[in-house]
């Protein structure tokens, strides 16, 4: 539970057990497609969190943080999941300032995860075709 997770760097950059699960369920193809989807949709969600915070559309910001949390969790991108989940919680409580202050961290952790997933994709040969 989140109470035990005091710092984002306590989380692994990539939780290999989740990636192994994806492989177990659908082989390299499923895992590759999931990584592709994170590359395609993750950035849109990060941008939507930013846009929602900037325009005062807090429902958009919260829902986008929630979606990003969910996708990151499925891929084992544990730090993105952690920060997105924290932003979602803060927005739920109405603490927009604290949520906004975490946006830079979210962006940073998202880029960090893309780097790690991209390296993994290259290293495993990547059966997926980049769009």
């Amino acid at each position: 539970m989140r109470e035990e997770e005091d710092d984002v760097t306590d989380e692994p950059l990539l939780d290999q057990s989740m990636l192994n699960k994806l492989h177990e369920w659908g082989g390299a193809e499923l895992r590759g497609k999931m990584v592709d989807l994170f590359f395609e949709n993750g950035r849109q969600r990060v941008d939507a969190v930013k846009d929602g915070l900037a325009s005062g559309d807090l429902e958009l910001a919260e829902r986008s943080a929630h979606s990003l949390k969910s996708s990151a969790a499925t891929l084992g991108a544990a730090r993105v999941r952690w920060v997105a989940g924290r932003i979602e919680e803060l927005l739920e409580k109405g603490d927009t300032a604290a949520a906004g202050a975490l946006f830079g961290e979210l962006n940073h952790r998202f880029e960090e995860a893309l780097g790690a997933l991209g390296s993994m994709r290259s290293a495993t040969g990547g059966t997926e075709t980049p769009k």
Binding site: M18, W25, G26, M34, F38, R63, S67, K69, S70, T74
Partner: protein, 123 residues
């Protein structure tokens, strides 16, 4: 014939994952939104619905309310699927009329498969 499951989920990655886990055993129909699901369910009634809570425009609890108030759909097993896991949520969602409640990310496919099988056998 395989039992039919409607998956209502806006995240394409979660749809893909659920499809990968369930595809061998069930015939899956996917809906990206609550409104699309209600239209689809009215045309073709499945054996079970997996319903995400956090959906744009019409959230999962409203979709459930409409399913439960439609005589043709009211008795359908509907399983809530949510990444919004808070303590007390299970009771809350069961109280709203969901048949069962599962959290995302799916880390144990056996839990998903067993829950679906149990709810289908009760139907």
């Amino acid at each position: 014939m395989k039992p039919r499951i409607a998956v209502v989920e806006d995240n394409p990655d979660n749809r893909l994952l659920v499809q990968a886990i369930l595809d061998d055993l069930y015939e899956i129909t996917e809906y990206e939104s609550g409104t699309a699901a209600l239209t689809g369910l009215a045309e073709s009634v499945p054996d079970l619905v997996l319903l995400d809570i956090s959906l744009p425009e019409m959230d999962g609890t409203e979709v459930l309310r409409r399913i439960r108030s439609d005589a043709r759909l009211a008795a359908l097993p509907v399983i809530a699927l949510t990444a919004h896991a808070m303590s007390g949520d299970r009771e809350k969602y069961l109280g709203l009329g969901f048949s069962d409640y599962l959290t995302k990310p799916i880390v144990d496919d056996a839990v998903l498969l067993e829950t679906i099988a149990r709810r289908l056998s009760e139907g």
